[in-house]
């Protein structure tokens, strides 16, 4: 199950909408080992494509090092699909290399209603999980991300 503060969900959705029709992508970091996404980090899609995303390699290094320095992990890795459903594609599955992350998929194919779903992708197997949007868990979702 993914537990997420509403402000974080809103930031992910806003990012996806802003980048539509290109795919948007990013991370929500949290304290290592605690499964608590807290720090929103939108990333540049170096592919700037409506069907593919890739974190810029130097941004990836910077963000991953920063998380390491702060004893954080990538609790959520999100991206959007702009014309198809919010479900991991074969490409998404092939390149899912953080077994501990919640892979959040957002679809902006419908201008009115955004789809927001979460999955675990481990060893090539996709398992959908419940998304619980709540402001109960402590955390600081309003902490500035790399915007």
């Amino acid at each position: 199950m993914l537990t997420l503060h509403p402000a974080l969900r809103d930031k992910v959705v806003a990012h996806a909408r802003a980048d539509h029709p290109d795919e948007a992508c990013g991370v929500i970091a949290g304290p290592a080992g605690q499964d608590r996404p807290e720090r929103f980090i939108p990333m540049l899609n170096a592919q700037r494509s409506p069907t593919f995303y890739e974190f810029d390699s130097l941004e990836l290094l910077r963000v991953w090092r920063e998380m390491d320095d702060r004893d954080e992990e990538p609790a959520v890795i999100y991206h959007s699909h702009t014309a198809t459903e919010a479900y991991p594609s074969r490409t998404d599955i092939s390149y899912a290399n953080e077994p501990g992350a919640h892979y959040v998929l957002v679809s902006t194919r419908d201008p009115g209603e955004v789809e927001f779903r979460s999955f675990r992708i481990v060893d090539g197997t996709v398992t959908e999980e419940e998304v619980r949007i709540t402001d109960s868990p402590p955390g600081d979702p309003t902490a500035p991300g790399l915007e």
Binding site: F55, L61, W64, T82, T91, P99
Partner: protein
């Protein structure tokens, strides 16, 4: 000679869980070959017949070796090499 190599989560099964290991070599290619003698199978995850794998990022200190010399990038004692799988995907 010691070059620190930082290993991403997904490749730590090859290093017995270690986040960082040491290796030696004059180039990235030699360094990877050296690591493979102790952590068998690691090389295949990093390179294929064409060179470094497209969706694996290898950095020498703060630079992506893709923009330096790829596998032939020279490395020196005291350098840090970092491996990070690309974060990528898409509807396709």
């Amino acid at each position: 000679m010691a070059i620190e190599v930082r290993i991403p989560t997904i490749l730590r099964t090859y290093t017995g869980g270690a986040k960082a290991v040491e290796g030696s070599g004059a180039t990235i290619a030699e360094l990877i070959g050296d690591l493979d003698t102790r952590y068998g199978g690691l090389r295949d995850r990093l390179q294929d017949e064409t060179g470094l794998r497209r969706f694996v990022n290898v950095y020498l200190n703060d630079e992506d070796v893709r923009f330096l010399g790829g596998l032939e990038t020279p490395v020196r004692d005291g350098d840090t090499v970092t491996v990070l799988p690309a974060v990528a995907g898409g509807a396709g």
